[in-house]
């Protein structure tokens, strides 16, 4: 019976749950079940009152009525997008936290969200871009460029890319980039009008076409991240420890950064910048399974998808018939939750 040990001492004296492998696998299955339940809730509840019978009919006996169209063209894509983006962001956040050995890390640390926002705002301001699909590509490009810039900045000087340098470089670049974004938005009222909703992060109105286009990148990022589980666990023990154990830390870091850019960049491209998922969900996963990233990342993926789907359901029900952007909901729910989590861990 293999025992999964949590080497996460550096993360504070968190509860270390020693679990058997079969228990962990069972947990994954439960996680999948929870995710599917959440998606079901997302399809059943919304601004329009649609009964479960109609929902079922929409899936198996489609008759082109308004209700069926709502289910198929609005709610199902939305649930899928939320699940995919939530999973991607959570895994990206987990990888970032392992990579930088910083429990407060999230994909935004590499400047990904800020870079994407600037790219979209600049595209609207300079080129008059108007459609979500085009936003997506600019967002992805901006995310990639920002991550490259942060990595380059963080690697300059002696010692290569250390977590501290990466963090500082990321914070500095994000501040610079978001001040540029704010400058454009102040000067150009029209751009502000157009993008402010996108900037809040939302899964509304994202159709399956958009998701399908971004899905390959998300999939590759996910595979790379999961494959790096063992290496990230070792890296999280410390740079010297990892090198001492024979790991090629440079390569691992590069591959991990690539995974983060693909996952977080793809998520921002589809849904705009959504915060707190990458920050909070890995901690919940860590609480459940410890610091072994081979398990932490898959759990984070399932929990992240469930979390974002449920946040989206709440966002639609809280101010009926209006809809809040899901990015607002994740902050509202994730913020207090994170405060509680941090205080709990510090106290222990």
């Amino acid at each position: 019976m293999e025992v999964a040990v949590a080497p996460g001492r550096s993360h504070g004296r968190g509860l270390r749950l020693v679990r058997s492998r079969s228990l962990l696998l069972a947990g994954l299955v439960v996680g999948v079940g929870l995710l599917l339940l959440a998606m079901l809730a997302s399809i059943l509840f919304g601004a329009a009152e649609i009964g479960p019978g109609t929902v079922w009919a929409a899936l198996v006996a489609f008759d082109d009525s308004t209700d069926h169209l709502i289910i198929r063209t609005l709610r199902i894509p939305r649930a899928l997008v939320a699940a995919a983006v939530g999973a991607a962001l959570a895994v990206a956040g987990g990888v970032m936290q392992g990579l930088t050995r910083n429990p407060m890390a999230d994909p935004g640390l590499l400047g990904i969200e800020a870079g994407a926002a600037l790219a979209v705002v600049a595209a609207v301001h300079l080129l008059g871009v108007g459609s979500l699909a085009l936003y997506a590509w600019f967002a992805f490009a901006g995310a990639g460029l920002a991550a490259a810039a942060v990595s380059a900045l963080g690697s300059a000087g002696r010692g290569g890319p250390t977590p501290l340098k990466l963090t500082i470089a990321g914070a500095a670049l994000a501040a610079l980039v978001s001040s540029l974004t704010t400058a454009i938005l102040i000067l150009d009222q029209r751009t502000l009008e157009q993008v402010r909703f996108w900037l809040a992060g939302s899964v509304a109105g994202r159709d399956l076409d958009l998701l399908a286009q971004v899905a390959p990148y998300l999939a590759v990022g996910l595979v790379v991240a999961l494959a790096l589980g063992r290496q990230i666990t070792t890296l999280a023990l410390g740079e010297d420890v990892a090198r001492g154990l024979g790991q090629r830390t440079g390569r691992v870091k590069a591959a991990a950064a690539l995974a983060v850019v693909l996952l977080a960049g793809g998520s921002v491209a589809v849904a705009g910048p959504i915060g707190f998922v990458g920050l909070v969900v890995p901690h919940v996963a860590r609480f459940l399974v410890g610091g072994d990233y081979r398990w932490l990342l898959p759990y984070a993926a399932l929990l992240g998808g469930t979390f974002l789907v449920l946040a989206d359901v709440l966002a639609r029900l809280v101010l009926r018939p209006q809809e809040l952007p899901v990015g607002v909901m994740t902050a509202l729910v994730g913020g207090p939750f994170f405060v509680a989590l941090v205080r709990w861990r510090v106290r222990r």
Binding site: G128, E193, Q194, G205, P321
Partner: protein, 313 residues
């Protein structure tokens, strides 16, 4: 903070500081003494002694600008209109710009040597005091787009053209009567829906919005979702798109970029389900439906004549 909001917190702080540093409110009850060459006009932030025949009028806000143009005044300074296809763009070609509506540029205003400045309460609360050293300042409360008739009367009065202002409104009323006469029995049976697709949902405009007042003047009924006295538009989820239906739908957009978004709506199968869409009675109209004064109202009437009666303006 993550999630793209990082850049906004310094902005919010700056706003709070700016508001807290006080405005014109303290000297709101500014008295004005009448003199031979000016008359006292009471306005939202006090009184001003406006010239009897203003020659160099600077207007800071688009709603009063509409009314000023309607009574035949050509200002020497207008706010920057960031929409080139605005209905206000043609009449103000060649006029100097004095900053945006959200940030009037005091230096540019001073350079224009105005003898009367007209702006909104929102703009003048902060800078009205400074501007009043350049010229008499009249502050109009134009926050409520449905109250455009009052705004028009106030602007006309400040410009010393109250009679002309009334003539403009009488002409508008005459057009309304002609419209109602020509619609005849169809008038009561043509429900007009006014919407704007925005932010992944649909925005509905009620009776007391600018466009709503013109429609009400014209005697046109509204669908139940829009038969409300809300000054602000109602945002609904796309799932409730049925509420956007009517006998006729006017879809208005604020800018060319928004018009591109509209083109995509046409492909949406949920949109195709609406009765008005199936009957082909959906009309795209411009930003004069957002509001203004008599010029905008007449432009809206033009759209009504064109689309509901098939008569070119």
């Amino acid at each position: 903070m993550t999630g793209g909001y990082r850049g906004l917190s310094p902005l919010l702080l700056a706003v709070v500081l700016a508001v807290a540093s006080g405005g014109w409110g303290a000297s709101a009850a500014r008295q004005a003494t009448p003199a031979a060459d000016c008359r006292v006009v009471a306005h939202e932030l006090g009184e001003a002694c406006v010239p009897l025949d203003p020659r160099r009028v600077v207007v800071l806000d688009r709603f009063p600008l509409d009314s000023a143009l309607a009574v035949g005044v050509r200002p020497v300074g207008v706010p920057t209109l960031d929409n080139p296809s605005s209905y206000l763009a043609p009449p103000v070609v060649g006029i100097a710009e004095n900053g945006t509506e959200s940030e009037p540029n005091i230096e540019q205003i001073a350079a224009l040597k105005p003898d009367l400045i007209i702006g909104s309460v929102a703009q003048l609360a902060e800078i009205g005091d400074k501007l009043s050293r350049l010229a008499p300042v009249v502050a109009i409360d134009d926050g409520d787009s449905g109250a455009w008739k009052r705004v028009h009367a106030q602007v006309a009065d400040a410009l010393g053209r109250a009679d002309e202002g009334e003539r403009v409104m009488a002409a508008y009323q005459a057009r309304l009567d002609a419209f109602k006469a020509r619609m005849g029995a169809r008038l009561g049976e043509t429900e007009v829906s006014v919407i704007r697709p925005r932010d992944g949902g649909i925005r509905l405009y009620g009776r007391t919005y600018f466009s709503g007042t013109v429609l009400e003047d014209a005697g046109l009924p509204r669908p139940p979702s829009q038969d409300v006295e809300e000054e602000e538009p109602l945002d609904i989820s796309k799932e409730l798109i049925g509420q956007a239906d009517g006998d006729v739908i006017f879809v208005w957009s604020f800018s060319p970029e928004e018009r591109e978004e509209l083109a995509k709506i046409a492909d949406d199968p949920l949109w195709a389900k609406l009765g008005a869409v199936r009957d082909g009675r959906v009309y795209e109209v411009g930003e004069h439906w957002y509001g203004g004064g008599p010029l905008a109202a007449n432009a809206v009437l033009d759209d009504l004549f064109l689309h509901l009666l098939g008569e070119g303006a």
